[in-house]
Symmetry: C2
Subunit: 359 residues, 2 copies
DNA sequence: ACAGTCGCAGAAATCGTTTTCCGACAGGTG
DNA sequence: CACCTGTCGGAAAACGATTTCTGCGACTGT
């Protein structure tokens, strides 16, 4: 009913041609006030809604941007995209959402789907990374694209918004060192994943700069499932000598790590210091509150939207842009007190280490 | 490049007419094997992707379903929609996502937008509820629709998937009563919100059935922001006599409530028993773990998708369907031990009751 | 051998817009 | 008065698919 009236109905009602209706409604030059008013009145009277499909077909663009996500069921991702969606929709764009279900091999199929939908822009927070076929496809598609927290591309139409993970990681390691920690562990996402690479590199550099021991077994990578993160965290925590501090990337991984800590009866802030890489409800509300690296997710989404809007406007014009947004280390109790595992408390420390070793 | 080849290019390559290409590709009857092969080969050679817009325009349907959400930045919502999106996309549908930013007055505009996009189906988890104009619009739009955890509609094309909030709430109240609690508080979402109404009604009925005091000030409703939930929780917890148990609806509200509890130095499981209405990472990982009402969010989403697919297939055919899925109360330590606030100290108990009567 | 089906495929109409093309008309100028 | 310039709006051609219409052969039954 609502979408039943066509432009011809409006034209008939207003006693003009269909072309004039189109011109009047789209604010073309050289349209008389009088005609415009007549058309507007008729459109309102008939509750005319232009048929999007026909509009897009003729115009050659769909006025919709494609969102490719690994999963939307992650509060960090969904917050970013919500902000981006808001900015884009106020500019008249619709969002077409596709999830590759965290399966890298589905990325390409999802992109093709979006391309066949003739999206006018692309926002990508895909499952996988790097030399991947998905990147090539994005490059050859020629659609203005913004990568979210992914390795930037050299293509002119492919922009990127990233977070400065490195500086906060370095800050965190420095902070832990000041508290006396020397065995600092790192639990990251998939090793080829851009944020993980950034964080890991910063972690490694910081250890080197501060002359801390760099032990391979204190550094593990896991997929984005709680179960996998739990398993890796267990392995990591059981290594000898055990870590006295742990940096975990991502909120799902944090959940797995906390489960592992609880299963090993390790109390955060007492037996081990903990730093999380995204600030979610859990980090603030956990007892003790967990030190976390914060970033403005809404700003990230909004910035990405702005970049994409620019990219879509200038067509295949200017060169690619990369924007890096700051992160901020928020200290909380999980890193505030020197854990008992620290070698500074000699006897107790030994004992705890012994227990940990014995499982 | 990828979407550059049209059906005419394929026709030319295969030395047939455009119509035949369409028939061959869409598995029409009366197409010779030989022609079909030739067309298929040509299509592959040219990497032909049918133009979605033209296809939809001619067919009259867009092969995309609209998702209307209050916000996607809520893990419960996004998990449901992720599951629904997966089921729908395997059937060849695309998702068009619109967020009304939790503003009830935007619901209608969002629906109109989706309607103008000629979506073939609608999935609604809108901000607001009830006699609202949005419901009327959905009714008159005539698009097959599934409401997610919302009041069902009498319209033939409007289906619903709901959760059986009531039974678990009753179970929770019974459990609390068994532990000796008499001052059971309830912190819900907006009062006109379907899940809140269901939960509140069940809570009230359970109190009545178990002959517990029903005090208005122990029952508060809040919007879906952490700040608001925090404020209401403070008021609720400060009422005299204070509640010894608290049931909170929704994950955002839980976060606000936990903040309030921490600010008042009330320890969950010791000073107050706590029941949450959605099982998220936070409930499982909080110390102590929080008793929660669980439901299978993926099943909810998948069921909604199934309902919508049915609805879109049978057109304006059969009548509306409502499916109610079970919930399950998972007991954890937050309700396991009798809190210190319990009137088991008799004098206090009398006093509490007296105050309760006086309102 | 002839009318009646049936399978197949080309030509053309169609979906609802936008856009191009073109003609009509008004007003100012040489 | 002829001529240009510029505004306005109708008619028709796109856009790229699907679907209807139509006709051509081949096959069947009598």
């Amino acid at each position: 009913m609502a979408s039943k009236a066509t432009i011809h109905d409006v034209a008939q009602q207003a006693q003009v041609s269909a072309g004039s209706v189109s011109r009047a409604l789209n604010n073309y030059p050289h349209v008389s006030e009088e005609l415009k008013n007549r058309v507007l009145a008729a459109a309102v009277a008939l509750d005319y809604q232009p048929a999007y499909l026909a509009h897009g077909l003729r115009r050659g663009r769909s006025n919709s941007v494609g969102f490719l996500v690994g999963t939307i069921a992650n509060p960090v991702i969904s917050t970013i995209f919500e902000a981006a969606a808001e900015a884009l929709s106020t500019e008249g764009f619709t969002i077409t959402l596709v999830s590759s279900r965290n399966q890298a091999e589905l990325d390409v199929a999802c992109l093709r789907l979006l391309a066949s939908r003739q999206v006018s822009g692309l926002m990508v927070s895909s499952a996988a990374e790097a030399p991947e076929p998905a990147r090539e496809l994005i490059a050859e598609l020629g659609i203005p694209t913004v990568l979210l927290d992914r390795e930037a591309s050299a293509e002119a139409h492919v922009h990127a918004v990233q977070s400065d993970h490195a500086s906060s990681i370095k800050e965190a390691v420095a902070h832990l060192t000041e508290q006396g920690h020397r065995q600092v562990a790192f639990l990251g996402g998939p090793a080829d994943f851009y944020p993980t690479r950034q964080r890991y590199a910063a972690y490694r550099d910081a250890l080197r700069a501060l002359d801390l021991p760099r032990r391979r077994e204190l550094c593990r990578f896991t997929s984005f499932t709680e179960r996998a993160a739990y398993a890796e965290a267990l392995l990591l925590l059981r290594s000898a000598p055990p870590p006295s501090a742990l940096i975990v990337a991502g909120n799902i991984i944090l959940a797995g790590a906390l489960m592992a800590l609880q299963d090993l009866s390790l109390v955060v802030g007492r037996d081990i210091a903990l730093v999380a890489c995204d600030d979610i409800h859990l980090t603030r509300l956990y007892r003790p509150p967990i030190t976390a690296i914060r970033r403005d997710l809404k700003l990230l989404g909004a910035t990405a939207a702005r970049l994409l809007l620019q990219g879509m406007q200038e067509g295949a014009g200017a060169a690619e842009r990369v924007i890096t947004l700051p992160t901020e280390l928020t200290l909380r109790e999980s890193t505030q007190y020197a854990p008992t595992r620290l070698p500074s408390a000699p006897a107790g420390g030994e004992e705890f280490a012994g227990v940990a070793l014995a499982r």
